[in-house]
Structures are given as C-alpha cells and as structure tokens.
C-alpha cells in the first residue's frame, strides 16, 4: 500500500468517526455537549495547526543568529538580480 493510500485510509477513518459523532448516524443519542464539541473539530485542528506554524516561524525568527558578512553578500546579490531581471523586462 502506498503512502497516499495509508494517509487516505487514516483520514477517512477519522472523518467517518467525526461524522458518526457529529451527525448521529448510528442513533447513539450521545449527550448534546459531546456533539457540540465534536462538530467543529476539523476546523479547530486546522486553526491549531495554523497557530503552531505561526509560533514556530516566530520562534525561529527570534532565535536566528545574525551573520553580517552573509547579509551584506545577500543584499548585493538581491540588487544584482533585480537589475538583471529589470533589464530582461520583468516589472515588479
């Protein structure tokens, strides 16, 4: 089984479980509060993942070490690249 099939299988299992709890497909009559917590779960996981990504980016920005020589060299290269692209006609 390929990796894609494994991920799709896992995702559909979780998706099925979520649909079962949210829409009461088996008529289990779970308490109302559990259904109310389960229903926004996909969106909640997406928002949490977004927050985690943002926090990781922020943390790595804050702890990145300065390298002055490399910074100067990079600025120089950016300038050259812009000049070159402008000569070839790319408008920014």
């Amino acid at each position: 089984m390929t990796k894609l099939m494994q991920w799709l299988f896992g995702a559909s299992l979780l998706g099925g479980l979520w649909a079962l709890v949210s829409f009461d497909l088996l008529d289990l009559n779970l308490p109302h509060t559990y259904r109310e917590v389960a229903w926004p779960m996909p969106l909640y996981l997406l928002v949490s993942f977004g927050c985690f990504s943002l926090a990781t980016v922020g943390y790595r920005v804050a702890t990145f070490n300065d390298c002055d020589a490399a910074a100067k060299e990079l600025q120089e290269q950016i300038r050259e690249a812009r000049e070159d692209l402008r000569r070839r006609g790319l408008k920014m």
Partner: protein, 83 residues
C-alpha cells in the same frame, strides 16, 4: 541571537499565536461544558462565530494570495508577436 526588531517580532508572533490558540480552545472545547450563566461566558461571542470568523479569515487570505498572483501575472503579460 537575533537582534532588536527581529526578536520583538518573533516573540510577538509566538505570544499572539499562543493567545489565539488559548482563546479558541476555550471557546470550542471548554465553553460547552459550562452553564449558560457562568461568568466566563460573557467574554466569548456566540458559538456560531467560532466557525464563521475562521472561514472569513481563510477567504480573505485566499483573496489576497489571488490578488497578488493576478497583479504580478498581469504586469508581466506580453502580447504574442504576430508573424
């Protein structure tokens, strides 16, 4: 260590995402288990907004990405030469 503004921006991002995560978690996971007249409920909008607001944010993000792409493509469009 990164200096000045970098550190401030980075830490600001971390704190913002922590705050957002905590607020959203309490909103979605904790609040349904509390009584309707609990003092904590007054700090949170009605629950429908916990779905609508991220939806709007996602739409706005996609719009901005699309607008940026469209702007760059439009500015670099060269009409084909006719032979």
């Amino acid at each position: 260590m990164a200096t000045g503004v970098d550190q401030a921006v980075g830490m600001g991002l971390v704190l913002f995402s922590l705050a957002l995560f905590s607020y959203y978690s309490v909103w979605v996971v904790v609040l349904p288990f509390m009584d309707g007249d609990h003092m904590l409920q007054q700090y949170f909008l009605p629950r429908e907004y916990s779905v609508i607001l991220p939806g709007i944010a996602a739409v706005v993000l996609l719009l901005m990405i699309g607008a940026f792409t469209a702007a760059v493509v439009w500015m670099n469009h060269k009409p084909k030469k006719v032979d």
